[in-house]
Structure formats: C-alpha cells, structure tokens
C-alpha cells in the first residue's frame, strides 16, 4: 500500500515547503497547513548511489536518488525508478523500503506525459 507525500503551506504568506515544522520558516507564522501532495512533479537532479552508507542500504545498491520539484511548489529528495533523468515528469508516493516509509517516484503515465515507456 502507498500513501501520499505531504508538504506544508503558510496561510498568511503563501510559502510552501517540505521539511516539517510548527511554523513558517519565511515569515514565522504559527500553525502551517499540512496537505497531501498530488505526487506529480518533474525530476530536477539524479544520482545513482553505488557506495551505500549502511549495511541495509548496501543490500539495495545501486539505487537511484532524485530531487523532484513537486507541482505544489516544493522540492524533495526521494528514491526513483532506474533510468530517471532531469526533466522527466514523475509521479510519487510513500512506499516502504528497507522497513522505512520513503517517497518513491516513477515516470508519470498518461496522455499528457512524454513517457518513454
């Protein structure tokens, strides 16, 4: 089962961000709104990790890490399917990897997407 990626937004100033906080890092307003993201985004950067940092991640290497620009206006680091490249339109959700919930992106499917699949 997968769950949605979430993000935060400041109602007074409109700032949008990803790292969870109890206030807006731009204007300081309290009680930001936490929302579910659509999962749609564009790949901003990619690296393939061959040298993993821990024994549990070594079992998964090589794996693809991506920075994704979500359509809601925040950027996040995530795992991605092999072969992703800058500019690819992707769709992501929270999945379980090595026992941990992590954001994972695949190439987006659908008529509006320049899919290679």
């Amino acid at each position: 089962m997968s769950d949605a990626i979430s993000y935060q937004r400041c109602a007074p100033c409109g700032h949008v961000w990803y790292f969870v906080r109890s206030f807006c890092p731009k204007c300081g307003a309290r009680e930001p709104v936490t929302s579910r993201a659509s999962g749609a985004g564009v790949v901003h950067a990619v690296t393939i990790v061959d040298r993993a940092p821990t024994p549990d991640m070594k079992a998964l290497a090589p794996y693809t890490l991506v920075m994704v620009d979500a359509e809601e206006g925040f950027r996040l680091m995530a795992h991605g399917e092999p072969g992703l490249a800058i500019g690819d339109r992707v769709s992501g959700s929270i999945v379980e990897l090595a026992g941990r919930p992590i954001p994972f992106f695949k190439r987006a499917r659908g008529p509006s997407c320049p899919s290679k699949a």
Partner: protein, 381 residues
Amino acid sequence: MSWITGVGLLPFGRHEGKNTLDLMSEAAALALDDAGLKRGDIDGVLTGYATTMPHIMLATVFCEHFGLSPAYAHGLQVGGATGFAMAMLAHELVAAGRLKHVLVVAGENRLSAPGGRDKVVETLAQVGHPVHEVPLGPTIPAYYGLVANRYMHEHGVSEADLAELAVLMRANAATHPGAQFREPITVGDVLASKPIARPLKLLDCCATADGAVAFVVSRERTGTAAVRIIGAGQAHTHQHISEAPSLTEFGARLSMDRAIAATGRKLTTTDADYLAIYDSFTITLAILLEELGLARRGEACGLARDGYFSRTGTKPLNTHGGLMSYGHCGVAGALAHLVETQLQMTGRAENRQVADAGLAFLHGDGGVMSSHVSLIMERQG
C-alpha cells in the same frame, strides 16, 4: 590586522596508532616552532571537531593535553568550512586587540580509527536531514552527485571535464612528499574509477586520511614571515541540499564579496596570485572557481586542462594537491590549503614554489555547498 606567524602541517595518509590529540599535538608543536613562540605565549586556542573523538570540550581537552592555559579557548563547527572559519575568528579576535597569539589546531585519525572508511561514510552521511534525507540512504558523495548532475546539465560540463580537476590535484600532489596520493593519474583513470554516486567516481572524491594542521595568528610579527589576513567573510544559505535555494547557485560569491569588503580595498578575485579553494569533489572545485569569478560558468575544467590553474600557470591552485590528493582528514583538510598558501607567500614551498604569491584568495565550504568562508591573505612588502 593579523599575521600568520607560524604553520605546521603533518603528512596526510595513515598515522597508525595515533589518536586525534596525538596528531593535533604534533602539528601544534610544529606551528609554535615555526612562529618562534613558546606554550606560554599562546593566549587563545581554537579547535574544530573530530568525528573520531566527539567531545563537548575539544579545545579544553587539547589545551590540557598539550600544556596550555589560554585566556580564551573553544571549539567551532561548520563542517568543511570549519578550518577557514577558525582562521577568520582568530583574525577577528587578534585584529580587535583581544588576543596576541591564537593557536588554531585541527587533526583527526579518520582513516586508521576503528571502522575506517565505512565508518567515515556512515558518520558523514548524517549531515543529511534525519527524517527527510538520511533514511533514503544518501552519502556525502550522493548529495554532491545530485549537485553535479544538475550543474553538468545546466552548464554543459562532462564527466571528462570534471576529471581534469582531479588530474591537476594529483599532479600537484606528486610534488609534495606529505601527500597521501602521489602517483599521477589521467582523465581516463578518473573515468574508469569505481562509481560512488554517479556521476561522481572514486577519483572525483577527496581521500579519507589521518593528519593534522596548526597555525598561529598573531597581532605582531614574530619573525621573518610577513603574511597577513586582510579580509574575511562568510555566507550561509541552507544546510541540507533539499532546502538549498538552488542546486547551481550557492553562497560563495556572497561570502567572497564580504571578505573583499572587509579589506576596504577595491579587489577582485582575478587579482589573485595564488588560489586555495576547497575541493571535496571535482564538482565542488568547479562550482567554487566559477562562482568566485575565476572562470566563466562551465569553463573552469577547460581552463584547468589548458594549464591555467597549474603551478606555472596564471592562477596556481592548491599546489599541495588539495583534499583530493594531499588528503582529507576533516577540519584539518582545508587548513592544509592555508598552510600551503602561507608557505607559498613566504617563499618556502620548495619545488612547488610559484613565481610570486603576493595576494591569495582562499575559500571553503561546509555541508553541501551550505556554509561558505572566504579569506584574503597578503604578503607584506
């Protein structure tokens, strides 16, 4: 005004059986001798941190061990920028008239400590966000791999281009007896080296080492060495790469502009006779050179290929071999750049001596292009 009156640099590599305090003490003794000072002359001590010896009072522990009772001492932490940040603080304290002789010292048995490189990789990955990054299994090379991927995309830089900077650092290291890696390498060797966090490969990365560096920043000269710090500045734009305002525009220029402003003179980085620039990865060095105005965007590697940054070139750079080939032992890593600069400016760099190092620009970064510190050093007369 402040003077760098003495320097001490150990060979980097493997110092089997020595701990952080042993290494720091050896470098400190060299720096005191070089400055012609005794322990009792030192009234200020600055240290960084040591991943192999985490301690909440490293400066005090070092002072006790080495035999110092200063009027002022503490540690300081900004990742890879720590070394230059300590130099900046020592300069500010001395220039303000607060202290006479500040000993800055760093060292670490990062390579030979239990766990070796595996432990280093795992420990350093923790600079990532504990919730939103570290669980994904990134490493420091992975954070920089993301930066490299984007930078190469935007500025048309290839892996073979980046390799030129590794080749240059190795060629420089070949002329320094204290360097960890001295065997010359080619672009082909870099491209064929083991992938770490693609596009970065083993030879794009700095080398984990044991080592230590110390130097003394003084209000007055203590001997013939006549090298002073004339300006220093910092910039901090983010800590985690996920929160960086950009993956291709960082804080280096802002930091250096502040250092230049602090000199009170109309200088530009192109006035430099010598460059000491942080080179944790080939991509780090490429971006910093370009952001500091020493090359146009996307052109630093090409200039390196043409010899522009070589010892006999227009802008000699990291003539000791940098983090990639002299080695990287944490906080002391970048301080090797500072020691080499002082040696060049005092005409003591032996077979590595450049033609005329009257004015030097130094720059370091910590985190993932997160914290920036710039220094400008000038030879008197």
